[in-house]
Every structure is written in structure tokens, then in C-alpha cells.
């Protein structure tokens, strides 16, 4: 219960910070909608739905990257990570709170993005939507972890995509697979397994990321 309270307090703090800064969610929304508009005109007429579905996943991963790149900005600019690290709560609560806040923003962006995608391209099957939700979990757990690693370095803006994108490849494979095949169960299971495995790894090793 104490751990849940710590995570709740930290997630609430992250949501408040991002809402008050007012930059992450609008940036994500503008980016994802603009990307769909570009893709709409870039794809030749008569292109298959499969190609459009692939582009959906490209847009989602880069939209998430945009948000994740801002995840630890308050801690970096104001040096607050030292304060959180010194607090007696389990340090993984810092990661989990931030991952939850990022998940809220990513889902909020997708609530707008998916209907816009349907408007420009085609309706998404239910399996694709489930795939997006499962992929969001993986993106936020891994992305927040990588963000914490990158924030400690000088080349943080360079390091974040370099570390995150290779780790997101399985999510894209699973998501695209779940979106285009007739029996998506295998791909959805793969995404769930990825989420569980990486959530466990990030939870167990976050302590070493924030400790000197």
C-alpha cells in the first residue's frame, strides 16, 4: 500500500507538472496529426491499407518519443532528481510514477490520433486498438527507463532516440502484426510478454540508473 501511495503521489506530480508546463501534450497532438496529414499526401492514391497501417505505427512511436524526451526535463532543469533519490521510498516508484503519467499523455494523444487516422486512411480493427494499448505500456515503461538513463548524460537528446528506437522495434513488429493479420492473438501475446518482461527489468534495475 505504501508503495502504491508513493507511486500515486509521484504520478500525480508528473501529471501536474506536464499539464502546467502545457507543452508535451499539445506538441504530441500537433505532431501526430501533422504526420498523418503528411502521410495522407505522401502515399500514392490506391496504396494499400497495409502500408497506411505501417505508417500509423511509425507515427505512434515517434509521437511517444517526443513525449518521452520531455519526461525528465523538470528533474534535469531543476535538479530535483537528487531530492527524489534521497527520499526513503523505493526508487522504482519514481520510474513507475513517471511511466504512468507518460501513459496517460500517450493515450490522450491516441484518443485524438486514432480517429484522425480512420478519417484519413481506414478503420482500425479491434485487434489493432488492443495492440496500440499493449504497445503503449511497453513504450512508456521502456521509454521512461531510457529517459532516466539519457538525462544523466550530456548527449541526452541524441542518446534518447538511439537507445529507445532499437528497443521499440519488437513493439512495432507486434503492433503491426496484430493490426494486419487475421489471427492477431499470437502478436498480442507477444506484446503482453514484452510488456511484462521489460516492466520487470525496468522495475528491478531503476535503482542502479539513478544511483551514482
Amino acid at each position: 500500500m505504501t508503495y502504491a501511495r508513493d507511486v500515486g503521489a509521484l504520478a500525480r506530480k508528473d501529471l501536474l507538472l506536464q499539464l502546467r508546463a502545457g507543452d508535451t501534450l499539445p506538441a504530441m497532438l500537433i505532431f501526430v496529426v501533422a504526420t498523418f496529414v503528411v502521410f495522407h499526401f505522401a502515399l500514392p492514391s490506391g496504396s494499400s491499407d497495409l502500408a497506411a497501417t505501417g505508417l500509423l505505427w511509425v507515427a505512434l512511436v515517434f509521437t511517444a518519443l517526443l513525449g518521452l524526451g520531455r519526461a525528465f526535463v523538470p528533474e534535469r532543469e531543476q535538479g530535483v532528481l537528487d531530492g527524489l533519490v534521497l527520499a526513503p521510498c523505493d526508487r522504482s516508484a519514481i520510474w513507475l510514477g513517471k511511466a504512468i503519467a507518460m501513459l496517460v499523455f500517450l493515450v490522450a494523444a491516441e484518443v485524438v490520433a486514432l480517429p484522425v487516422f480512420a478519417l484519413f486512411f481506414h478503420q482500425l480493427p479491434w485487434a489493432a486498438v488492443v495492440g496500440v494499448v499493449l504497445a503503449d505500456l511497453g513504450i512508456c515503461t521502456v521509454g521512461t527507463f531510457v529517459g532516466a538513463m539519457a538525462v544523466a548524460t550530456r548527449a541526452r537528446d541524441l542518446l534518447m532516440p538511439l537507445l529507445f528506437l532499437p528497443l521499440a522495434i519488437p513493439l512495432v513488429i507486434g503492433g503491426v502484426g496484430a493490426s494486419v493479420v487475421s489471427g492477431p492473438g499470437r502478436y498480442l501475446e507477444f506484446l503482453a510478454l514484452y510488456d511484462a518482461l521489460f516492466a520487470l527489468l525496468c522495475w528491478a534495475s531503476f535503482e542502479y540508473v539513478v544511483a551514482e
Binding site: R5, K13, Q78, G79, D82, L86, E212
Partner: protein
């Protein structure tokens, strides 16, 4: 409370701290002085548990929950109000009767009226006062204060004098300063570092 033997720290090839010995018993008040670049901040970060020494041994009996650390940064969020910042730390430190304790500290440090303002709107001195509230919030057994008088006006400095005097003998304090005369009456030991 705090014992160090031949403590040292390197960042790559650069040595920032060398051969520091210190003993600080419960209730002690150690003043650390030294010129810029002598390693005061590094020593205090090591003692607070924020950095690891690359040489020597450090023994600290206070757990993380019982350490109050004031660094060069106030360690508060600019987008949150003073009250929200202290409330967050109060939750993380599981401070009993949190709201009363937060209110008492805000009042003592003259921030009660500004409690609903975002820290970004605070002056540097007000932010330092809030940082001091954060440090004292969980009633730490070991206070590690890195140049705590920075940015405080005369009234703020007097408040801090009074607070440190109140804690003397009951809490263990490790304080770095460029103005040792100010806290000389409180000190039980001194450590001078050289660049």
C-alpha cells in the same frame, strides 16, 4: 553518526577530494570550509549518500529517511506551488501529521502567504527558504547543508541562525560555508579543505 577515513573522489582523471578524515558524533556540528574547487560540495554529497567515494571508507548510521540535504539546487519543482512541493516530500518521507508540519514550517520561514504561488514566481531567497522547509520537513537526524545562507536576506539568515541553534545538540549537522564566523558559536568541530 558519521565517520570517514581517507575519503577521496575522482571524476575520471580529475581528483576533487583527497584523504579526508572526519568523525561526527550524534549532536555534533561540523563546519566545512575551503576555497572554491576544494571539494566541499562533493564531500557533502558523499556524506548525504548522493555520491560514492572512489577512495576510502565512509560509515554513516543515519538511514536515507533520516538525512536532510540542502544542495546548491533547492530540489523543488518550479511548476508546483510551495505547498504542493512540501506536500509531495511529506508523502514520500511519510511525515506524520503532514499538513500541520508543512503549515508550521511555511509559517516559520515566512512563506505561508505565498504557499499557493508556484515556486517559479518565488524570489531566489524565498526558494532557498522553501528548500530549508523541505530539509527540515521530516525532522532529520543528520542535516547536510551546503552553503545554506546562499541567497537569504538578513531576516532569512537570522531565521536559519535560530533554527540551527535550536537543533544544536539534538541533531547532527554538517555545514559547508564561506562565512564560518556566522556559525562559529554552534560548531563543535571544523574541517578545512584545500583546493
Amino acid at each position: 553518526m558519521l565517520h570517514a577515513r581517507r575519503l577521496g573522489k575522482r571524476f575520471g582523471e580529475k581528483r576533487v577530494l583527497r584523504g579526508v578524515d572526519l568523525d561526527l558524533e550524534h549532536g555534533g556540528f561540523l563546519v566545512v570550509t575551503g576555497p572554491n574547487g576544494s571539494g566541499k560540495t562533493t564531500l557533502l554529497r558523499i556524506c548525504a549518500g548522493l555520491a560514492r567515494p572512489t577512495e576510502g571508507d565512509l560509515e554513516r548510521t543515519a538511514t536515507r529517511a533520516r538525512i536532510g540535504y540542502l544542495g546548491h539546487e533547492p530540489l523543488v519543482y518550479r511548476e508546483l506551488t510551495g505547498l504542493e512541493n512540501l506536500d509531495l516530500y511529506g508523502k514520500l518521507y511519510r511525515v506524520p501529521e503532514r499538513r500541520e508540519r508543512v503549515g508550521m514550517l511555511l509559517e516559520r520561514f515566512g512563506l505561508w502567504e505565498a504557499r499557493h504561488q508556484r515556486v517559479g514566481a518565488y524570489s531566489r531567497g524565498m526558494t532557498q527558504r522553501l528548500a530549508l522547509c523541505r530539509v527540515l520537513l521530516h525532522d532529520p537526524a543528520l542535516l547536510v547543508l551546503d552553503e545554506p545562507y546562499t541567497a537569504l536576506d538578513a531576516a532569512g539568515a537570522e531565521l536559519l541562525d535560530a533554527q540551527l541553534a535550536e537543533l544544536r545538540g539534538e541533531r547532527t549537522c554538517l555545514v559547508s560555508t564561506h562565512d564560518p564566523a556566522r556559525i562559529e558559536p554552534l560548531q563543535t568541530a571544523a574541517l578545512g579543505l584545500v583546493a
